[in-house]
């Protein structure tokens, strides 16, 4: 089976010396959700723009659906769906007008692929005569997704669809993506939220234009070299300070209500650590082994 997207040593350089994307390679299988996970400025948007043929690469190559992003840009343009980072619909047109417009532009009709967008569009239907600019953030996002889906693209590119969106709306959005995946649409999505990584089949962790790791989320977490411990204390600040000064500690940082700690020793003596913390005046400690998350892996990779 042919891969939906193949990227090989792809690079983009701005103003001669600003390397936005640095020899990035990955591939996306057909019908999977592939996540580009990384902070703002990591080069995610540049990668998206090269894959959607909006930017010419300065090095390397990429294919989408087997078509070359430079030579075969016309074929790619007619078969991908793209949702840019900013809300990019016509604010002064109504929901219905936007959808009809993009349907015609993409050489189709709303009826033809209505089954694809039905679930999402039903939520928008009550507002179909409202202008897009007057919609709520979540609704705008749903409309943009409908417009990107209307021509039944084989690959869907979503550039940071959940940035600045509250956790509840984010969950809803990922539910929609799962349904689309079930319809055999390949999805490439970028996000700065590490917790969304687990919802992807494969992910690429990316920082400063370079890929730190590409794999399934489970494999990335599994390849974390040390055992990770979570420690809770009454006073998080003094706990972190004490851990920082302890020379048995490889790395420690705050992680929600816990501090995550990796020790130099493969089998650390936990009672020794508890005693140390007590000596440092850190009270009410709760120490346990914990599951590694993508965020832990990312931090580890960043610090290397």
């Amino acid at each position: 089976m042919m891969e939906a997207v193949v990227v090989k040593d792809l690079s983009k350089v701005y103003d001669k010396d600003k390397t936005a994307v640095d020899a990035v390679s990955f591939s996306v299988e057909q019908g999977e959700i592939f996540g580009l996970i990384g902070p703002d400025g990591a080069g995610k948007t540049s990668i998206f723009r090269m894959l959607t043929t909006l930017l010419l690469p300065d090095g390397g190559s990429a294919t989408v659906d087997g078509f070359d992003v430079v030579k075969d840009y016309k074929q790619i343009r007619s078969r991908v769906g793209y949702m840019p980072g900013k809300f990019s619909l016509y604010q002064d047109l109504t929901v219905e007008e936007n959808l009809n417009f993009f349907a015609v532009i993409f050489n189709t009709t709303v009826q033809e692929n209505y089954h694809l967008i039905k679930d999402i569009y039903m939520q928008l239907e009550p507002f179909k005569t409202r202008r897009a600019g007057k919609l709520s953030g979540g609704m705008k996002q749903k409309l943009a997704l409908c417009c990107a889906l209307i021509h039944k693209p084989s690959v869907l590119f979503l550039d940071e669809p959940t940035t600045g969106v509250d956790p509840v709306s984010r969950k809803e959005f990922w539910e929609m993506l799962k349904k689309l995946k079930a319809q055999n649409i390949s999805i490439v999505v970028s996000t700065p939220y590490m917790d969304e990584a687990n919802l992807c089949d494969h992910i690429a962790l990316i920082q400063s234009g370079k890929i730190l790791s590409v794999d399934s989320p489970a494999n990335i977490v599994r390849s974390y070299p040390e055992d990770l411990y979570a420690i809770k204390a009454e006073n998080m600040r003094s706990l972190l300070k004490a851990l920082h000064q302890y020379n048995e500690v490889l790395d420690s940082y705050a992680f929600g209500e816990y501090a995550h700690v990796a020790f130099k020793d493969k089998h650390p003596d936990l009672s020794k650590i508890r005693t140390y913390l007590e000596q440092q005046g850190v009270n009410g400690t709760d120490l346990k082994k914990t599951e590694v998350t993508i965020e832990d892996s990312f931090i580890k990779l960043l610090k290397n």
């Binding site: 043929t53 930017l55 990019s88 016509y90 417009f101 532009i105 050489n107």
Partner: protein, 383 residues
């Protein structure tokens, strides 16, 4: 490659459908934006009122013709005097009234002085001779200034003559204003306002509306579709072409019914020429939009780079004849200058196409040039 005819038909049909929905969308944008709409259609009215106050200007080196039917000592003396004036550039070659009229229509002369057959005799023996001064009053300020210069020269000549004799000599100039006998200022600025309004609507609105798609990111989506990028531009141009024609009509209606200034020439010709100028402006707007990426910059360039030269160099505010040669040369690349000349010729002088074909050709040349340049620089990708 050989496309089956049916498929070819289908592709054409699709392109038409995309084109038409795009144009429909553009009209929706324009019609929903009430404030801009008000400016678009309110502007011509306001400008016509504002420019109602015409400006007085000194005129230098105006081309005039002299029709010497007398060909006697007195007429020669006076002609020498007129020719010596810095205000005029005399064209002696004019032979008869017909040729003179043609020269007026072409705009190659601004004023003509006609000496009657026995000018010398009448002056010397009857102490009173007639002389005819005809001015092109389609530019009323120019016309009055020029005729007053001529009468001043005549008075000067008489003063010298009267020093010697007892009975004073008199020359009574008969002044005729061509095209615009009541010296209505409107006849001058209506074509100017038309050039200005079209420039503003077409250049600025097109440039801004295309750049807006870039700014909001919708251009990204349009590019990532099977829609031909050039259609984006073509579909932006159509609504503004139509709006501008509505503006031309409203200005003409205003000038006929409010300012009492009739269209002397062919209205269809006027609209055809206006369409040409509108297309020129649209290509200019497209060119600006291709080169800029923010609405503010597009607007600034349209205003400073297009509107200002139009006001300065079209000749409707400041006579081009008075400018240094360098500026006169620059004025030649300003489309509005040629359109202004064309509109004046059709509206006021009632000239036909044969009088303005040269200007039309120049304007078409500029348009084709701009079109080629902007199509060449249009990008099918971002940056």
């Amino acid at each position: 490659m050989n496309w089956p005819a049916a498929q070819n038909e289908a592709i054409k049909h699709l392109a038409m459908k995309q084109f038409s929905i795009f144009i429909k969308k553009e009209f929706t944008h324009v019609l929903r934006d009430r404030k801009t709409l008000l400016i678009l259609f309110g502007m011509p009215v306001v400008q016509i009122l504002i420019f109602g106050f015409a400006l007085t200007n000194e005129v230098k080196n105006a081309r005039i013709a002299i029709l010497d039917q007398a060909n006697d000592p007195a007429s020669h003396q006076l002609i020498t005097k007129i020719a010596a004036s810095k205000y005029f550039e005399t064209e002696q070659a004019v032979m008869n009234r017909r040729q003179m009229e043609d020269a007026f229509k072409r705009g190659s002369i601004r004023l003509a002085v006609i000496f009657p057959a026995n000018f010398n005799n009448e002056l010397l023996h009857q102490h009173n001779a007639g002389i005819q001064v005809i001015a092109d009053a389609s530019d009323p300020n120019n016309a009055t200034t020029l005729t007053s210069y001529v009468t001043a020269i005549i008075q000067d000549y008489l003063a010298a003559l009267n020093k010697t004799g007892q009975t004073p000599y008199r020359i009574s100039p008969e002044i005729r204003m061509l095209y615009n006998p009541q010296l209505k200022g409107a006849s001058n600025f209506v074509p100017g306002v038309m050039a200005l309004v079209l420039m503003l609507v077409c250049v600025m609105m097109t440039a801004v509306s295309i750049v807006k798609e870039k700014e909001t990111g919708t251009m990204e989506i349009l590019l990532v579709s099977s829609f031909k990028p050039l259609l984006v531009i073509a579909s932006k141009a159509v609504p503004y072409l139509m709006l501008s024609l509505v503006n031309v009509a409203s200005i003409l209606l205003l000038s006929v019914f409010v300012l009492d200034l009739p269209v002397n020439g062919n209205v269809f010709l006027l609209f055809a020429e206006s369409t040409l100028f509108i297309i020129t402006c649209l290509t200019l707007g497209i060119f600006i939009s291709v080169k800029t990426s923010s609405q503010q910059v597009a607007m600034l360039i349209s205003l400073m780079g297009m509107l200002l030269p139009t006001i300065l160099f079209s000749g409707f505010m400041f006579p081009i004849e008075n400018m240094p040669v360098a500026l006169q040369l620059i004025s030649n690349i300003i489309p509005a200058k040629w359109y202004y000349i064309i509109v004046k010729a059709i509206m006021i002088k009632g000239s036909g196409f044969n009088a303005i074909w040269k200007e039309t050709l120049i304007l078409s040349g500029i348009t084709v040039f701009l079109l080629i340049v902007s199509l060449k620089s249009f990008k099918i990708r971002l940056s």
